[in-house]
Symmetry: C2
Subunit: 153 residues, 2 copies
């Protein structure tokens, strides 16, 4: 393991997060999402499976090092509940809290209809999946930048 880094940030996951650049999208998925097949179509073709982690743990680990884009709003999106586009289930409320905490301010996520989410996800850089049991625990995070002084923007 490494100093100051969440243990869930494995070698493979750190590789992907560091290889990504400004505007690249990362998919973060629950246990039912078709992670392997979607990942096969992504830019890197990479599927990282954090077996044993739930989506909150995974989001916390990733956002501890991964800056969300500040050039666009929203920079994070959730998958819409089918037929209930305005419903925000508890799993998404939990991840919204992780986003807000990591960013140090409220940054409401956008939402994407399920089938459109799949298409969007295929254009991402990679897919990180978890064993989250709750449905609709699926998100897309757009990467931001680190300024010369080390701060995220």
């Amino acid at each position: 393991m490494l100093k100051s880094l969440d243990p869930l940030l494995t070698a493979d996951l750190l590789y992907v997060l560091r290889a990504m650049g400004h505007g690249d999208d990362l998919v973060l998925a629950d246990g039912n999402f078709p992670s392997a097949s979607v990942a096969a179509r992504t830019v890197s073709g990479t599927h990282i499976h954090l077996a044993g982690a739930d989506i909150v743990q995974a989001a916390q680990a990733i956002l501890s090092v991964y800056p969300l884009d500040t050039f666009v709003e929203p920079a994070a999106h959730r998958m819409q509940v089918v037929g209930e586009p305005d419903t925000i289930p508890p799993v998404q409320q939990d991840v919204q809290r992780v986003v807000d905490a990591a960013e140090g301010r409220s940054r409401a996520m956008g939402s994407i209809e399920r089938m459109a989410f799949y298409e969007h996800a295929k254009r991402a850089y990679a897919v990180v999946s978890t064993t989250e049991r709750r449905g609709y625990g699926c998100f897309i995070f757009k990467k931001g930048i680190i300024l010369p002084d080390g701060s995220a923007a």
Copy 2:
């Protein structure tokens, strides 16, 4: 780039550092060290070249996340100057300061004769090389552990 991580910690380098475990050795080398050929014999066969970085910058970046072993002393070694085993040239004094700062206390490096250093290096996990111009800018760092509370030991 990523929050709180030195830009020299590239995707490839982060991968190697995170993949290593307790007691694994990492070679950190200057621009003249036979890094490619030695790396080919290491456990992972990996040679990461930080082209443009000097040895102090590389050591600072690595030790910002990489815990030195506390089960053995010394956990870090320098290559001895040929014929002058007790001479500690400025490049090694510089890296000693980086080690002490990263560890938060004085941890004097051991030294290994040049040919023995090559043999030891071949048993390491990987080699990280730099474009350090000063000779004898070659080191072996043994990896330590992260305790459950997140502190290094």
